[in-house]
Amino acid sequence: MKKKNIASKIFVALLILFLYMPIAVLIFYSFNDGKTTVWKGFTFKWYIELFKDNAIMQSLYNTLIIAVLASVFATILGTMAAIGISNFKGFKRTAIQNASNIPIVNPEIVTGVSFMLMFTLLGVALNFEMGFWTVLLAHISFCTPYVILSVMPRIKRMDSHIYEAALDLGCNQWQAFTKIVIHEIMPGIFSGFLLSFTYSLDDFVITYFTRGSKFQTLPIQIYTMTHRRISPKINALSALLFITILAILIAINIKDRKAAKAKGLE
């Protein structure tokens, strides 16, 4: 039994090492005073250059704008859709839900090229170029199904009698809707929003095919920088992204634990 325990500990340690070693190496070289993987001494200069790089800062800004707009819009569209779809029955409902899942099930690259094809055709017909707007439309389209997926179970679980009770007690339909329905499904709406936001932030494939020639987001910038291997600025960027992710996840974890504790005390 003991031997087994040690073996499993070694296995777990190796697996975690496998997951983290590449990221650690990436961060390690962000402090290297040379451009190659030969160590030339410690420096912060790549971090300083990163913040001076206007193209990178602009693309960070673009990424955030797109993520905020796309996730807010997708959350509204998806929540309305989920409430509406839950009132359909039978074949119609299955058909709508299956069609809505297409962007989730389909390989990302196919979704990407299908957007590109349509936007190029429309662009020729209506005389516009791909850029900010096409990226935003594409992001809303692939985020909304995730909102629907996270709101739907909440609607199913909701007791429809509460809504009727609110009406009986003198609420009008709008009040009953905002005070009861929205309140009840809020956790689903919120997790749908978060999902959309993170998917939009991180999206490379769909942006790559819908961005046209000028519009840059951070993942696109990462692509350009890793593809041509220009400078260790990319390492500095990775380190900062990693720290940000770590901080966010630890914060969420602490919040969850506190919430769980509070629940336990009730």
Binding site: I109, L137, F204, L246
Partner: protein, 263 residues
């Protein structure tokens, strides 16, 4: 509340931004450059059949290695104390949040000529070209998608009722029998969803093979990327084939998943 109308904006949106783009792909796949109905794009797509085979092969091998690594990990995790379990889930989730290009680029740095691993090996007297072969592509895929295999298997395993295992022990099963008759059958749905979460993206991904495998090991996603900027008809045909293949795969997986749940 009883209103179906609320879904109208999205239904319109879905038609415009999901169904019409797909219809455009299908239309392009069945027309030639002059816009006439033709099977030419599919005939052209046939030239890439070896890339198709390689993509499926690489995705299958990656998937298999992911299962081999993920299954024991998920099992060990599910046997830990709850706090440790949460810690492990977080440790496995964090790399997933890094942009996939950065994660692949990290391996490019690690494995490149005169990179850390190459240097270490040459000190030991081993001269190996670590980049540019199918094995490196598989490594990249496994690194990329391993968390997507661990987490669903772990989720299913952590939900296994401990009383079932205790009952099996009471009825005289040893640990091997318990694993074979209780834990493994109950974990199959997790494996199935892990397979779909790993196989689909790894068969259709692009750039991973370009970064790690060089030009000899490109996958079907890379072909779509390259060809779409010049020949949209052939690109559409390849996309359509990929889409249908993935769809068939998902339906099959779903079928197996349901079977298991019933029996």
């Amino acid at each position: 509340m009883k209103s179906k109308k609320l879904s109208i904006p999205y239904l319109i949106w879905m038609v415009v931004f999901t169904l019409i783009p797909l219809a455009t792909i299908i239309f392009y796949a069945f027309t030639n450059k002059q816009g006439n109905f033709s099977f030419e794009p599919f005939q052209n797509a046939f030239f890439y059949s070896d890339v198709f085979v390689r993509s499926i092969w690489i995705a299958l091998v990656s998937c298999l290695i992911c299962i081999i690594l993920a299954y024991p990990m998920a099992y060990i995790m599910s046997r830990c104390k709850e706090r440790t379990q949460n810690l492990f889930v977080m440790l496995i989730t964090i790399p997933m949040w890094m942009n996939f290009l950065l994660r692949i680029y990290a391996w490019v740095i690690l494995l490149q000529n005169n990179g850390p691993i190459d240097t270490a090996l040459s000190i030991l007297g081993i001269n190996a070209n670590l980049m540019g072969n199918a094995g490196t592509v598989v490594l990249g895929m496994v690194y990329e998608f391993l968390p997507f295999m661990i987490l669903p298997i772990y989720t299913v395993m952590s939900k296994i009722d401990n009383r079932l295992i205790e009952a099996a022990q009471d009825l005289g099963s040893n640990s091997v029998q318990i694993f074979k008759k209780v834990v493994f059958p109950l974990s199959i749905p997790g494996i199935i969803s892990g397979i779909t979460m790993v196989f689909v993206p790894s068969a259709s991904t692009f750039l991973v093979a370009q970064y790690l495998g060089g030009t000899d090991n490109i996958m079907i996603g890379d072909v779509i990327d390259k060809i779409f900027w010049t020949d949209q008809n052939t690109g559409s045909a390849i996309s359509l084939i990929l889409m249908v293949a993935i769809l068939i795969f998902l339906v099959l997986m779903n079928f197996f998943g349901d079977e298991e749940a019933i029996s």
